[in-house]
């Protein structure tokens, strides 16, 4: 896909735009995070449709998660997920030790409180991608030291 720089800059601007307009209160921030996450959701759906055009059908859930960690992440961020852990009961943890969208923010604990805003879009991306592949899930992210971060995927059994 295209060079990662335009996407990174665009992403930062989108976050600034959505959150910049209203600086007040937790409820507002929560709503904005949801807005950004649903943007990511729709993008993830379309992206996965394009990416899986040529790949063969997936065997099971683990296959789907491996695809997300390798091809999907590579397409978006030019690298793979560094570590995938699962408890084999529907919870997967994806660890990225140098998350691209955070790497230009800081290299330690500075701006840690702003990090969730920058992770919401990617959470939506993963959720949208999984949803289009037939896996309903909830995706959350946490970060303790930038630019490493962890995405937690909880599969919802219908």
């Amino acid at each position: 896909m295209a060079d990662e720089a335009p996407f990174q800059f665009l992403h930062s601007e989108v976050i600034q735009y959505v959150f910049g307009a209203s600086d007040s209160g937790d409820a507002e921030t929560g709503r904005n995070i949801t807005k950004v996450e649903s943007m990511g959701f729709r993008v993830g759906q379309g992206l996965i449709e394009r990416l899986t055009k040529e790949t063969s059908r997936f065997k099971d859930e683990l296959d789907v998660m491996k695809f997300i960690c390798k091809d999907f992440w590579t397409c978006l961020f030019k690298k793979q997920i560094d570590n995938l852990r699962t408890n084999h009961q529907g919870i997967y943890v994806l660890q990225d030790s140098k998350f691209q969208l955070l790497s230009h923010l800081s290299a330690g604990k500075q701006y840690l409180d702003q990090a969730p805003k920058y992770l919401a879009f990617t959470c939506g991306l993963v959720r949208g991608a999984l949803s289009n592949l037939g896996v309903k899930s909830i995706v959350t992210a946490e970060v303790s030291i930038m630019p490493a971060c962890k995405f937690q995927v909880m599969i919802q059994k219908i």
Partner: protein, 157 residues
């Protein structure tokens, strides 16, 4: 003048010799996103054929892990032949199914032609999905998609 009208007659006749009887796109929850059939066919019968073919598609998808030599391909091949039609299926990774129904009398339609038709459909469908004005799960209203399908349906032999 006479020659002209004969030619037009013949052209008209040839125009009705369509190979494809119909094309359908079915969402992963098994409701139709798009159904198009040639006007001369009874719509209801076509809808019914597509509906029954869904069972065969499900069978093929779920049997994948158990068969030997499972290719896990997207193209499902000939689903089942009836006395009038042959039904072909294809499923995407997002569990959207494409069904093409063709006339049984048309034996010259080869496997790789059907495959290329499905590929075109898949490409067109991907474009529809990436269109921001289209909500996934809604019936397909894209004119571009319509154009591709029309192009595939009216192919004179």
């Amino acid at each position: 003048m006479f020659g002209d009208s004969i030619r037009k007659c013949l052209a008209g006749l040839q125009g009705t010799q369509t190979w494809r009887v119909g094309i359908a796109v079915i969402a992963k929850e098994n409701y139709p996103l798009y159904i198009r059939s040639v006007a001369s066919q009874s719509e209801l019968k076509f809808h019914y054929t597509v509906h029954t073919s869904l069972d065969v598609v499900e069978e093929k998808i779920s049997a994948v892990g158990k068969s030997l030599g499972d290719q896990r391909e997207l193209y499902l091949g000939l689903l089942y032949p009836t006395e009038d039609y042959k039904v072909y299926g294809y499923v995407t990774n997002s569990k959207v199914k494409f069904v093409i129904v063709v006339d049984s009398s048309n034996t010259s339609l080869r496997d790789n032609e059907i495959r290329s038709m499905f590929r075109k459909l898949h490409n067109s469908f991907t474009d529809v999905m990436c269109n921001p004005f289209h909500n996934p799960g809604d019936p397909i209203q894209s004119k571009a998609f319509d154009g591709i399908v029309s192009g595939m349906m009216v192919q004179t032999g």
